[in-house]
Symmetry: C2
Subunit: 236 residues, 2 copies
Amino acid sequence: MTRKKVKLAFIVNDASRKATYKKRKKGLMKKVGELSTLCGIDACAIVYSPYDPQPEVWPSPIGVQRVLAKFRRMPELEQSKKMVNQDSFLRQRILKAKEQVKKQSKDNREKEITQVMFQCLSAGKILPNISMVDLNDLAWLIDQNLKDINRRIETLTKKAQSQAQIVAPVVPDVAAKIEEKEEGCHGNGLDLDMNIDAMEKQNWFTNLLNNGGGDEALPFGDVNHSNGFWPNSFFH
Amino acid sequence: MTRKKVKLAFIVNDASRKATYKKRKKGLMKKVGELSTLCGIDACAIVYSPYDPQPEVWPSPIGVQRVLAKFRRMPELEQSKKMVNQDSFLRQRILKAKEQVKKQSKDNREKEITQVMFQCLSAGKILPNISMVDLNDLAWLIDQNLKDINRRIETLTKKAQSQAQIVAPVVPDVAAKIEEKEEGCHGNGLDLDMNIDAMEKQNWFTNLLNNGGGDEALPFGDVNHSNGFWPNSFFH
DNA sequence: TTATCTATTTATAAGGC
DNA sequence: TGCCTTATAAATAGATA
């Protein structure tokens, strides 16, 4: 776990394996001791290796015996319940890794499309070389942004009404809201006149796509998705 | 062990202790699994906590039983031999910490005296406000440097002789050698004419101090040492 | 072989939510 | 309570001595 990330698999090289064994056994025993001390609990560890004639244990033989006695007194079924066995342990790790990859992919995709969105805003039009897949995701992103802006407007409107007891129509500055939201994209020369009636326009692309109830779900992370508007055959 | 270095002692706060327990138990089980997989050995861990009705074990109940059976088959005396019990564990940690402090103190002291040495070289004389203790250590440091230089000269001389088969007297440039050795001190305006006969001078201060066989040992790390030349009463 | 030395990876203590 | 994030401490792989 350093200099190089090591694969969780049997170390074939004898010297490396032994070196790793010694380092990690030491670290493990230290950890057991720390856990026991910090949390005031009983714990033990037993390690058998071909390098030592006797097993290495923590804490003391008597401590181990005591812990073992406790363990043995339980029926086997009970023993199995709260157990972390190797199988479930590996499954958990794989699952977690997959989730991380998925989340990262989604984030990456969202950033990518955000870039495309600002390129379009700079150009003042939809770029001609944009793919249909990107266009779908772009539509989703714009829709999300508009919804977000709308929510903020509602919040601000209510706040203004409750504070000043004044009921008045609101003409939101959409461009300013976008700038506020997309802080990372300031300073690229964007200053478009985007004063549109957000209330009326917010669902323009969603309605166009007739996307049904699916418009709340993030489309990112599944690059080959179909949303029912563009048939899959369209891309082939 | 982060945000703040935690003391190895029972955590009094209940919430903190539980949080730490959960985190560390998870980390511990992971470590046991890794050790077992990486090194292809049998290992088990059992942890009892007030938070779970059953003990948490690794790897599987069957694996634990197998490891336990092995362990129980041994006579108690044998079990104690290779064991890392809490007592020896703590002793080892304390010893190691003390050794680290000692080593660091020695290093610090050597650096300090090296600074003094270069201050003296810059001034061209022994500074008037230097203490006797510092003077002793300075003498030791200079002596070590001269010896080191001499060893290098010998090595280079032998190499030159064996390569060119020419036997000639060597007039070393001591200043250049010092510059070579003390790389961290370049660029401070030092360019003294130090061409002296190192062969003849190397033991000047050692002889002066009549330090006997003790001149090989590092004096640093024991600030209150006496080397037999300056009587302790001199400092009081 | 065993101890040291770093560059990295992991583990995790505090703090938010 | 439990999970997530972030800054920091600790573990440790590979290289050397």
